[in-house]
Assembly symmetry: C2
Homo-oligomer: 233 residues x 2
């Protein structure tokens, strides 16, 4: 069996990726980042789901992105107001964490070197990526080049470590449909940026998630505040 | 004045880079990583030196590379025995921290985005780089491409953030000579991987440092264990 490191937040996308890798019979090494994010429930979700999928190891790595700041997800910058989903990708929102994917993928690469995994799976997707520049295919290509040039595993040992983003060209509806087909327990996942007990239904992450279920003609099983499900659309 | 983030370990190379940036009149943002390294004295050195050079901010960022392991600098892997300096770059030593420079440069890039610096200065050099693949010029080029593609600052705001390694093609003797010319207080720097009070004189870092001072016809002002200065050569 091949070993795969899965960047695993406990949200909708990365849980679907974990389920796909599980279906493919990979030896799973789940990597979750505790980067001072407001939405702590993500991490609790990740723990439950990693156990459910029988990962070889679930590594929860604390990195102090909150010390760097610059994002409404980690610092005292207001969260953005609800935005029209049709214009969501026109501007990079304040939830952008400076260079986050490079930081997380670098740590994932280090982890892959250590455990002997040649595959790193990430849940990013480009179609509704909310304006993050580090979710684009050309960015990923550049990162893979960095791995080939910068790791002992590739330079000296001839290994071929590669980041793949299987959802890169999928829209959210397809992600949910594939996840449902694989039996992903979406009731255990968490995406909301704002709330811990009931999802707010209004932040970018909720809006994208709700649209995904709506377009897939499915009902999101997590609890939402009041009538936010209805309000959002 | 331009702002520059300086990757600053408190060692010989990065202190020289800090002094060069200070000479150039940059607004200095020193970034030191507390990554669970054995040689804690590095960080104490960095604090003193950052204050001495009047940095705008000295950010000490804790990242748990020791949680990932895989290196004798952070995990329970034995430090390498003393090696012949002529063969030092033939093989990547156990002091290689998996993908370290990518992790550190990614965090430095995030920090540069937040403080508005377009220059990131790193002390790596390729000639006697001890076998680390992520100290090579082609690696740095790949990293700068990643910045151009992956940061809000470059993609949306038209900034041009760039990592430069001014010592990249310098040998250690030239580094020390330039530092001495700039009045770098090398007695406050620390390079040894093993010891805290007196440098061991035998680890790769000590060996390179001692050779640097010898080739520059200068005396290293830090204390060494016993006759290790003499023993090493």
């Amino acid at each position: 069996m091949a070993k795969a490191v899965v960047l695993f937040s406990g949200g909708l996308d990365s849980t679907t990726v974990l389920a796909m890798a599980h279906r493919d019979g990979e030896d799973l090494y789940a990597l979750t980042f505790d980067y001072g994010q407001r939405h702590r429930r993500e991490i609790a979700s990740a723990r439950k789901l990693a156990a459910l999928y029988g990962v070889v190891e679930h590594k929860i790595l604390r990195i102090d992105l909150d010390q760097i700041g610059g994002s409404s997800l980690t610092a005292d910058v207001p969260l953005p107001e609800s935005r029209d989903l049709d214009t969501i990708s026109a501007d990079i929102p304040s939830t952008y964490v400076p260079f986050r994917n490079s930081i997380l993928l670098s740590l994932a690469t280090a982890y892959a070197e250590v455990v002997g995994a040649d595959l790193i799976l990430a849940g990013m997707n480009s179609l509704d990526y909310s304006g993050y520049p580090d979710c684009r295919p050309e960015y990923l290509d550049a990162f893979n080049r960095l791995i080939r040039l910068g790791t002992k595993a590739c330079v000296q040992d001839g290994r071929q470590i590669e980041v793949r983003a299987p959802l890169l060209y999928w829209d959210k509806a397809r992600i949910v449909q594939e996840g449902m087909r694989l039996g992903v327990p979406y009731e255990l996942t968490w995406s909301c940026y704002r709330e811990e007990n009931q999802a707010c239904g209004h932040c970018d992450s909720c809006a994208l998630r709700l649209r995904a279920f709506r377009e897939a003609n499915l009902v999101d099983p997590i609890p939402y505040l009041l009538d936010s499900k209805r309000l959002a659309y």
